[in-house]
Symmetry: C2
Amino acid sequence: MSATMTRSGQTDRESRSSRPPRVAMVGAGQLARMTHQAAIALGVELRVLADSEADPAVTAGAAHLIGSPESLGDLQALAAEADVVTFDHEKIPPEHLSALEADGVLLAPSPAAKLFAQDKHAARRELSARGFPVPPFILAGTRDETERFGDEHGWPLIGKVVRGAYDGRGVFELSDLDAAVRALDEVGPFLLEPRLELRRELAVLVARSVTGEVAAYPAVETVQRDAMCREVLAPADVGHGLAEEARRLALDIATGIAATGIVAIELFETQAGLLVNELALRPHNSGHYTIEGCVTSQFEQHLRAVLGWPLGATDAVAPAVAMVNVVGPDDGSDPAARIEGALSVPGAHVHLYGKQSRPGRKLGHVTVCGDDLESARAAARRAAAALEGSS
Amino acid sequence: MSATMTRSGQTDRESRSSRPPRVAMVGAGQLARMTHQAAIALGVELRVLADSEADPAVTAGAAHLIGSPESLGDLQALAAEADVVTFDHEKIPPEHLSALEADGVLLAPSPAAKLFAQDKHAARRELSARGFPVPPFILAGTRDETERFGDEHGWPLIGKVVRGAYDGRGVFELSDLDAAVRALDEVGPFLLEPRLELRRELAVLVARSVTGEVAAYPAVETVQRDAMCREVLAPADVGHGLAEEARRLALDIATGIAATGIVAIELFETQAGLLVNELALRPHNSGHYTIEGCVTSQFEQHLRAVLGWPLGATDAVAPAVAMVNVVGPDDGSDPAARIEGALSVPGAHVHLYGKQSRPGRKLGHVTVCGDDLESARAAARRAAAALEGSS
């Protein structure tokens, strides 16, 4: 904890006042890009570890270092002179994070907390051990284990690679034991769970500061298509009781695992109640709507949390907010060239990430605040469709 | 108009889709900094002409060129490959703007419109000639002219240098004829006007696109201290009739002078009605509140307008919005070092410009949205005072 003390302690106040606070972020995608926008207002210098000069946060003007999260040397160079190191993604070797922590670098989240987003099996096991509701699961390593789980829960089952699954990649449906055995041959041990009957998928964002202060955003509904989050509806239309239960659960998890920064808790709403699907310990697609839809955006909140600054209000600023992702169309065309159609939709807030268009790639999003979810969603869809060229 | 046609015409669509739209901005202060934040979301590349690497837009990561607005060569270099050139300030020699225009550069605003912000006397004369209500004025060049104007309107009078006045600099009160004559000796001919009895100062922002589309924001009250805008209250508490009259007047002026981009129309509310004080043809301090307070911020709106994109909605998103500037304290200390105090004020949106602290310098602002002006203003003042170290 000595890094924390040095960073926010009184003794360091003088040196801090002579330069802006410095936050280092591993990764330079759209999350880093939008964090940079928030950093500008706060006078915070964001420095990102980027793959290339074309990365979304780099073209937005964040200070940057070109390198790889697989290289401990690059991570150390990024961390040098930063007040705190945080993340735009999960793809950092945990052993590198432990090495940085051992060097006295303040990481937010800590390596131990980050693992809840990096290792799906460890997360399930730990959350379950702490009494949080999770779907039935095993780490399937052998034919026999897989068969027993199938006998108990019925086929088809869902398999998920333990590390590196993202936006549907690494998640597969297994129709029967033969398919499961083929998958074991291909990817090795994987997380196995039943195909649950879901009412909805929900998400709750929680900010937890390095000081321990916590703040939860309202529960939202996330709508998936092709296993990728495509729409977010805020607030989730689930009734006050369930929304509060989700929020409480998310706060308990964030506190229980000592997360720091933004943590997104993805939940399944089933007939039997809420189950924790997975966690992301970083700003999250389910929170993009907060830029216009809440008093404090998740990106500003993340910066406040990792710097140990007071957290901002998480209240919504409109009765209903809808966010629709803009995804690269099949013809490879660039949504940016069709921005005028989206801007002509009243109230549409367009966010483009400056990424090269590729079919199925998240290239931007649109948010609309309104009086009811139906009209906000319709407007956001219209603007997103204009960008995707499908209107 | 050929530049406009090339920029937004169908023939150029293909080449445009292969790179982001490029907006060049002369100046790299806080207005350029906040324009850059808006540019990121729209996927627009902002390139600024900066005095130094320490300028607010440069530290925010805008693409930049170090140079001087006094140099035609630097302006030409800035304009090269930009779709449109716009401005963060007024201090560009009008003859340079005319030269750029003659070269086919699309300027928004045009040199002719920009002059309404650059030359206080020409603006008064032209607005008066077009029938817009302005205060009584003369261009005082001799003792005799000055004496006659004093006899007619009574001392003290207000003198304003014709070019370069800003935030109270270049504006002076003249107690009597002797003082006026001394001022003539010092600064040469200046704009002379009566010291008016003001009820309030108001401002209306209008966006006018290069396509001719216009949109006006609600009338706001601007509160000056030491001749510098210190607070903005939105909407102005003036009753619907006067607010609409102000909005109508502002729309007529923006259209009448063929402004493009954001134009701020500053108005005096007097017993005799509204008078036009001065214009700024750029984003303006009276519009900083629009970032959180209106559906479309003035900075995004400025980009839409200069690029010929559809204008966004100008509606307020809250019943009341208060903006308070953060000004460098007399002890020279840096408000950024006290940010935590401001962030602890619920609902306070803090914007720091990354400028070196100097007494009296605008270093940032705070905006609070609320249900009533009184509480929003109190909260914004509390946060600004925390930053200034005066709380």
